[in-house]
């Protein structure tokens, strides 16, 4: 699809994704707004600038592959897919409803554009490695992106996968860690300290880039740098704020997995510069 290079446009898409996340979780009455809001800028940059994909041909064989390992952040992914043109934006409001293609966690058989079914944490990076290996076998140049949470770094499978991706020298693989430093039970440093995260990934043989995950130009630069790295995979550690953009949600663990009430939704949309209820 046509790449958007204008930074304000990409920022506006990220804002719309955040608005969608609030409206969707409010309509569903449940869901995970916190980590979806922290990753909105990453989704905007990936789906509208970085990745080669065709929303009207979701199975295009030369497409870049995106895998959401932190499946609970799917409201942001669904919004990015809908706003890229994979399905109607109105359908976003069916999130978590019986019969909806927008399952509480991604179901790749249900919705076009989803490359994996996720929700049980720690598994996406392994799937991404399989996809990257297949692309190498087929001598193609497409790339694989995998978004993980920093809480997800607790899972042992992540490190099994990290070791093997470097072993296979998968330079067509780019991991992204949405480091918002919160998980359901509290701060990651208290629940299970993942620091020093950069050193861990480096020692596993990855090229590591740390970036402000809300800085759109910096994100683009990081993804472009990753494309140039040869012989090893790259991980972009994106420092973010959980609940970003909504004043009362920022850095508050409870908003990991709680939907805003109608009143809270109004306030949140106001914070996001969304005056009316129609976005």
């Amino acid at each position: 699809m046509q790449k958007i290079t204008n930074i304000s446009e990409l920022k506006e898409i990220a804002r719309k994704i955040r608005v969608d996340v609030i409206k969707m979780t409010n309509a569903a009455g449940s869901g995970h707004p916190g980590g979806a809001l922290s990753s909105a800028d990453i989704f905007s940059v990936l789906y509208f600038n970085i990745m080669n994909h065709k929303p009207d041909d979701p199975k295009w064989e030369d497409r870049d592959i995106f895998i959401l390992s932190k499946g609970h952040s799917c409201p942001a992914l669904y919004s990015a897919l809908a706003r890229s043109g994979y399905f109607p934006v109105e359908e976003l409001m069916t999130l978590r409803k019986l019969g909806s293609r927008l399952q509480g966690h991604p179901d790749m058989l249900a919705l076009p554009g989803l490359e994996a079914s996720t929700g049980s944490l720690g598994q996406g990076l392994s799937i991404a490695i399989g996809a990257a290996l297949a692309i190498k076998l087929d001598k193609k140049t497409s790339r694989v992106y995998c978004l993980m949470g920093d809480g997800e770094m607790d899972e042992g499978q992540i490190w099994e996968a990290a070791m093997s991706a470097a072993h296979y020298r998968l330079d067509n693989l780019c991991g992204i860690v949405d480091r918002n430093r919160l998980q359901i039970d509290g701060f990651t440093k208290d629940v299970m300290n993942t620091d020093p995260l950069e050193k861990k990934w480096e020692s596993f043989g990855w090229h590591v880039i740390t970036v402000d995950g809300h800085d759109v130009p910096a994100l683009i630069k990081a993804f472009e740098e990753a494309k140039e790295v040869k012989g090893k995979p790259t991980v972009i550690i994106a420092d973010t704020i959980k609940g970003k953009g909504v004043s009362f949600m920022e850095n508050v663990a409870i908003w990991h997995g709680q939907a805003p009430s109608d009143e809270e939704t109004k306030k949140a949309l106001n914070d996001l510069g969304e005056e009316s209820s129609h976005g």
Partner: protein, 373 residues
């Protein structure tokens, strides 16, 4: 790019090429050279009740072979036929025989190390991109260590991954003890939607099952073993996924078995024959989807069922057959298998006796179930 070596495989039948479609893998009948049926042999068997396609020396001097060898041979053949076949191993490629594929197709073989969860996810990713991954390791690690990964990354999205397990069961693992004796795996895989579960009875059937697994679009659990086991079937023995085969006909009782217990069931039926009991032996190699028709027919015609498996009776084929009977045609059933306990180290023969998995145990169960009729 598909079927790269097809000329080699089908050089005697070039007209077959026209039938090959991109979406299809050739049926196993075309891959394995059919053996001419020995008519004299067939006539001799017709006088008895045994399936004429079984090995003629079944009871006197059975040939023995490793079921895992059947897997290894088939995987190499599949690799020749279809470029999308890939294999993965978690540091057990030699033991499981995936190494034969690795030696021939190193670029399509992925050594993952001792990391079964990661192997499962990588297999799912390869399948997502159109490959046909055969991941293999020991039964306990192929199904238990990574059960959530199989459920989430393979079964739920219906990924075309073949989970191939050797060293399954209790006596075919033997001395390694309980940690390595895979006796819950059928249960663990059978419960997952989309999963096909196949437990072949000997080396030849394992080879056929491996080809059949490649043809199925979706996840398959293929269970085989380590030890030398009697080769019961021949190339001519029918093998169709989802279709149980009657290996001996009979009217008094039906013994429904899978894996190495099929041979024990045949031995039991032979001994029962001398005692005037006419036992039907059914090779129920496909545990899921189970052949309800053949099971209900057996219940209707023989009125009593014994199941036999090298697995816990809870959740295995005893349970699977019991589910079919209870809901369709209830008749008395006895289950031969491991009775809700863990195994231990020992010589395979001693373990088989200690855990009640011999033909004598099947005979006891037959007498018990006939009393209940």
């Amino acid at each position: 790019m598909f079927f790269k070596s097809e000329e080699e495989i089908f050089k005697k039948k070039p007209e077959k090429r026209l039938e090959i479609k991109k979406e299809e893998i050739k049926p196993i009948e075309d891959v394995i050279e059919p053996v001419e049926i020995n008519l004299e042999l067939q006539r001799r068997f017709e006088e008895s009740k045994y399936n004429p396609t079984l090995d003629k020396d079944l009871f006197t001097n059975p040939k023995k072979a490793k079921t895992r060898d059947g897997f290894g041979e088939a995987l190499v053949k599949l690799g020749e036929i279809n470029e999308d076949i890939v294999a993965l191993s978690a540091d057990l490629a030699h033991s499981v025989r995936a190494m034969w594929f690795a030696e021939k197709f190193p670029e399509r073989f992925f050594q993952v190390g001792i990391a079964e969860a990661n192997m499962t996810g990588i297999a799912a990713g390869l399948a997502r991109m159109g490959k046909i991954p055969f991941m293999s390791t020991f039964g306990v690690f192929a199904t238990g260590r990574n059960w959530d990964q199989v459920r989430m990354s393979i079964a739920y999205p219906n990924m075309n991954v073949k989970i191939c397990a050797s060293h399954t069961g209790i006596f075919s693992v033997g001395a390694d003890g309980a940690s390595h004796q895979s006796i819950e795996d059928i249960s663990l895989m059978r419960v997952l939607p989309n999963m096909t579960v196949i437990v072949p009875c000997d080396k030849i059937e394992t080879r056929k099952a491996t080809f059949a697994a490649a043809k199925i679009k979706g996840p398959v659990y293929l269970r085989f073993g380590r030890e030398d086991m009697p080769v019961i079937t021949t190339e001519e023995t029918p093998f169709n996924v989802g279709k149980a085969e009657i290996f001996r006909d009979g009217e008094d009782v039906s013994i429904i078995a899978c894996g190495p217990m099929v041979y024990e069931a045949l031995l039991a039926s032979k001994k029962l024959e001398d005692e005037g009991i006419d036992g039907r032996v059914i090779n129920n190699h496909t545990v899921k989807p189970i052949d309800t028709e053949t099971i209900i027919k057996a219940a209707r015609e023989t009125g009593a069922i014994v199941t036999a498996e090298e697995h816990q009776v809870i959740g295995g084929i005893g349970s699977a057959v019991g589910e079919v009977l209870g809901q369709n045609y209830p008749v008395p059933i006895k289950m031969v298998g491991v009775q809700d306990r863990f195994g231990e180290s020992g010589d395979p023969k001693d373990l088989q006796k200690a855990y009640g998995l011999t033909n004598e145990d099947i005979i006891k169960a037959v007498y018990a179930v006939i009393k209940m009729k």
